[in-house]
Symmetry: C2
Subunit: 198 residues, 2 copies
């Protein structure tokens, strides 16, 4: 059996890079950390199971010390429940540990923190899919199962971030004419890949 | 333009029927109310918009006084944000108001509470789709756009609940071979309907 690896990258333009945020106010004080928590849920959870073939990166770009990148690995992650507070609590723990000067460090099992920028991260990945309403229809394109899917939070990617993707040769792929939340896009992409058995 | 109405029904076997639960502990003390909150999000949210053609019912069957049914109407709902606490807070407000002896009552704009049972609710709806892994492939069936989709929380429907659906002539429809969380199923069903423009 060929083992594929799905990757999701969520750019969190406002999500804070300090652990000093309240789990009771993820949308406000934590800079829409609720979106990131839902994206982690959408990428990793099956019913009573985790997707072991998924790596999810959240690139946190909020104050006070961006960028910070937190990675959740579906094979190794522990202590993750589907609710928003659970994923946010693991991000908080990662931020408490802090990112090392170079490379990434494990903060809790299967969760890793680094100072990687969006550009560095994209550069380190293979084939990139940029989910965008103007792209090719996801149901009509070839996919290997090893792509990295890039999504933005409630704000669009900046021109600079889009330039990073263009330089990398990312494909624009569309989920339809409607505009969806990032976590819903992840569910749809996972579903399409599941149906293809890749 | 023909206006269709999508309906989602989530059976919440453990979700409490008292407002005395903490928004800080939706998975525990509130009886997996986090699942219901995510289902409301999945059914109603588009990016920076709401799905005005959707009615979502949560049938709460937890202690102390089940059943209580809470309906969110996409056209009329106000004060709803995508995070779990927001939907749960509106359910809490509905439970504070309490269900009337007969019929349903509006607790906050676009949110309604009643004592309807699952059987009564199903009986009042039109064509029913029971999302189940053993059903027909959703991509290969005809849909009008006016169906009601029935889903269960983290527990399966009971034999009694399945009998209600069978008596009503519900169609079993599948989203694939994998087992998904209820909110993810709602995203997938909404996506399929969106792509059909119904």
């Amino acid at each position: 059996m060929i083992v594929h690896m799905r990757t999701f990258v969520i750019v969190a333009h406002k999500a804070v890079t300090t652990p000093k945020f309240s789990l009771n106010d993820l949308p406000g004080g934590a800079g829409r950390m609720d979106i990131i928590a839902r994206c982690i849920n959408a990428s990793l959870f099956l019913s009573h199971d985790l997707r072991r073939d998924v790596d999810t990166y959240a690139v946190l770009l909020g104050d006070p010390s961006p960028p910070v990148t937190v990675r959740f690995n579906g094979e190794k992650v522990r202590y993750l429940s589907p609710d928003e507070r659970s994923a946010a609590a693991l991000i908080k723990k990662a931020l408490e540990k802090g990112a090392p000067a170079t490379g990434e460090e494990e903060s809790t099992p299967g969760v890793y923190i680094s100072k990687r920028s969006f550009a560095d991260l994209v550069d380190s990945l293979g084939s990139i899919v940029y989910l965008h309403e103007d792209g090719e229809d996801i149901r009509n394109i070839e996919l290997t199962g090893d792509e990295a899917y890039v999504l933005s939070d409630h704000q669009n990617l900046t021109p600079e971030e889009e330039a990073v993707l263009e330089k990398k040769g990312a494909r624009k792929v569309s989920l339809g004419k409607k505009l969806y939340h990032a976590d819903h896009c992840i569910v749809m992409a996972n579903h399409e890949l599941d149906l293809r058995n890749i």
